[in-house]
Amino acid sequence: MRAETGSNSWSSRPFPSPRRSMLRVAGVALGLLGLASCAAPPPKDPDALAEYKEANDRYEKLNRKAFGLTMWANKYTLRPVAKAYIWAVPRPLRNSFGSLYQTMNEPVVFFNDVGAGKPRRAGDAFVRWCINMTAGLGGLIDVANYAGYKHHDNDGGLTLATWGVPSGPYLFLPALGPSSFRDGLGYGLDVGLSPWNYVPRGYGLLTFNWAYNIMGTINGMATNVDALDQVMKDSLDPYATIRSAYQQQRKAMAEAIKNDHRATVPDWYHTR
């Protein structure tokens, strides 16, 4: 499934290697084109229509297939691995890996903050990157957090949202998880914004990218596995539950970015 870059379980994006990511972007683009031809007609009854609009899921049939496949694959692949990882690796170390992954994604957050016209957020992301890459030993320790620069999420989908781009119909992308037309496009933008994809290719970088992606994905799953298990167990229709929670969270995150008028100085400045 997806890797964890922030506090929000459904918002984070994996951070793929160049070749895989290009393939994925191409796959997402092709998928989006193909979808246009297989939408279900909206219902006639006004109450049912209101429900249909709230779900925002024109491609439900296809999405449910992708969901079923992803959850089935997850059950036999990523989930057991993540469980073993939780068993073998103590929590502080897992937190460190999470922080490393988050720091490596900070450039994407930075460029998106700039794109969203939020220079102060961008500044925070930039300072977080500088502090954690040096004092934080490449991101293993979230020193910036203790210095008053707390992590915040941002991605291409949210940037487009701050520009007023509507989300478009909901999508469940195989292996990537819940998304939408806008967020799928934003995902493609993020791959382009990530500096790791522009570093000259070499065996060292390839090894780093694979290790980084695999570690990030497993760590992300480990962070979310209990929540996901609970949804699968407690929901009568887990697909609908995830669809609703994802769309609400994305909306709230876009709102939060729009309303973020943070000060230029970090927290510790005020407490002096």
């Binding site: 506090s7 929000n8 379980s9 109450d47 049912a48 209101a50 429900e51 709230e54 779900a55 929590r91 937190n95 407690d234 929901s235 009568l236 229709d237 887990p238 697909y239 609908a240 539950t241 669809r243 609703s244 929670a245 609400q248 969270q249 994305r250 909306k251 709230a252 995150m253 939060a256």
Partner: protein, 205 residues
Amino acid sequence: MQSSIPRRHALALLAATSAAMPVASAWAVDAGAQARSFVTMFGNKLVAIVNSDIALEKKKQDILPLLGQYVDVDAIGRYCLGRYWRTATPEQQDRYLKLFHQVLVNAITDKIGDYRGVTFVVGSSAPSGDDTAVSTVINRPGQPGADTQWIISTASGSPKVVDVVGEGASLRLTQRGDYTSFIARNGGNLDGLLRALDKQIANHH
């Protein structure tokens, strides 16, 4: 001397704005303050039980009266059924609410074991439709703080919780998505949902 001029300006500005404030906002401030003190009181009671050293089973029992008193379970249940509440027969509504009570209690008491050494900070309040939203941050040792909003309604006569919003997702809205989708996929038949809830409760241990 010089610094007193801006201060005088500021005072004049403050006086002018407070005089210009509409009377209605006084009520809003009251509703917000009332909701905040309610969340503080309810939260303190919950945290006292959750953090105590008594056995887990005893904790679960102690929490039940609190839920009955401070959470409007019936209102949440009605909301979660969406458009199917109106088309349900009174018998179906009764049966559904009984099952829903049990499902909600199970969901909450299942969580108690996960929360040890929990603290919370009550933040600001804001109107949310007819209700009031109170922001809190829930802190657990070794984990990032969780931004949680409590939606407080006074429709029943006294303040009660009608929704919890965690990281932007409303619990009752998400639950409604689950139930209505399940009903729609079972031919719009409410009895299918009631059977599924029955089964869920029977399988709970």
